[in-house]
């Protein structure tokens, strides 16, 4: 994908984003398309892991970018554009879950979708990736949402709590629970305190 890996969900050098955002604010659709091409992969990955359904994740991505276009003027640059997009995406996922429930796709469909692409560093066995995705998929909604945002996309507990509309303490508890369940399901040893 075109995105680069950095901490905190930032997917692109801010100056590039800023130029494109300025263009999009002036009504330049090509600039906005470029922003879409740069960020949609991460937004889709996040939505797919949160919704567990490719069709629902696609809807969320589309709504995220449509809402982003509508609200470009309110983007103040206090966070990165990627973080701003992810906030919108999480909101879409939660709204969709409220409206349509959280029916999930089978493990195989989701894992196959997630297994198509791999941008992690270094060699990694595809079977391991599938195991981890399957284990993530099996987590309860609350723990999975918090784990995906905190452990996978690198947001702080405070940011995750704000995105999900929960208390920071609740977020920490969900991540703790998620980590414990993941360790169990992946056969990793329990952490010692």
């Amino acid at each position: 994908m075109e995105t680069s890996e950095t901490v905190g969900g930032t997917a692109r050098e801010p100056s590039s984003d800023e130029l494109l955002i300025a263009g999009a604010r002036r009504g330049d659709m090509r600039a906005f398309e470029r922003l879409y091409r740069m960020h949609s992969g991460r937004v889709y990955g996040l939505c797919l892991r949160m919704t567990r359904r490719p069709d629902a994740a696609e809807d969320c991505v589309q709504q995220t970018f449509i809402r982003a276009w509508r609200n470009l003027s309110s983007f103040e640059g206090r966070s990165s554009f990627a973080t701003w997009l992810h906030r919108i995406a999480v909101n879409e996922v939660l709204t969709q879950a409220r409206n349509h429930g959280t029916r999930s796709e089978s493990d195989e469909t989701l894992v196959a979708e997630l297994d198509k692409e791999q941008d992690g560093d270094g060699p990694f066995d595809a079977a391991d990736v599938m195991d981890v995705e399957r284990a993530l998929h099996s987590l309860p909604d609350g723990a999975r949402h918090a784990m995906v945002l905190q452990a996978l996309y690198g947001y702080s507990h405070e940011e995750v709590a704000s995105m999900l509309g929960i208390a920071v303490g609740t977020c920490k508890a969900q991540v703790h629970r998620g980590r414990r369940l993941l360790r169990e399901r992946l056969g990793l040893p329990e952490a010692e305190l």
Binding site: S40, G45, R70
Partner: protein
Amino acid sequence: MSSRRLDALDETLAKLPKSVSPERDLWPEIEAQIQAERQLKPAPRGLASRWVQLAAAVLLVVGSSLVTVVVMRDVPDETRSVAQVEAPRPETIAMPASFAGYRLGEDYLKARAQLDAAFEQRLALLPPAAREKVERNLNDIRAAAREIADTLAEHPTDPLLHELLMSTYQSELQLLVDVTHMTPAPATRVQL
């Protein structure tokens, strides 16, 4: 070692792809919808239109409340002082005491309690028709505040809703203050 074990999980998670390509290109549909919105109206605001409607409702209520205040200023003093006949009072609606996870501050509640007491005292001196109108307007403001607070519960991070709710609280306070300052104080034995 616990840190090594935690690292093992983190390393495992770090290997997962953050970016995943959807099955199909979603851009054409996104672009089509944006273009359709641009052609339909110059300033499209799907969700925002609800807030604008709410804002319009609040402005209407505040506007009518101000009219009430102006009308009451024109009521002669002697008319006010004969407001002893009890008119049926509309059911009182209270302002929301909390919204979107926030609770009103103690300073506000304290000032509010004092103002409420003064307001009730002065309200009793108004002619029944004027009193009824003030109470109706007050209830309208409070109902609007509750509606905004309920919507805010669904969209707790919406800055426009926060602003709207704050302005509604201010409008309610302003109406209480206006009525309290405008009506004459209860007659004392010396004045009689």
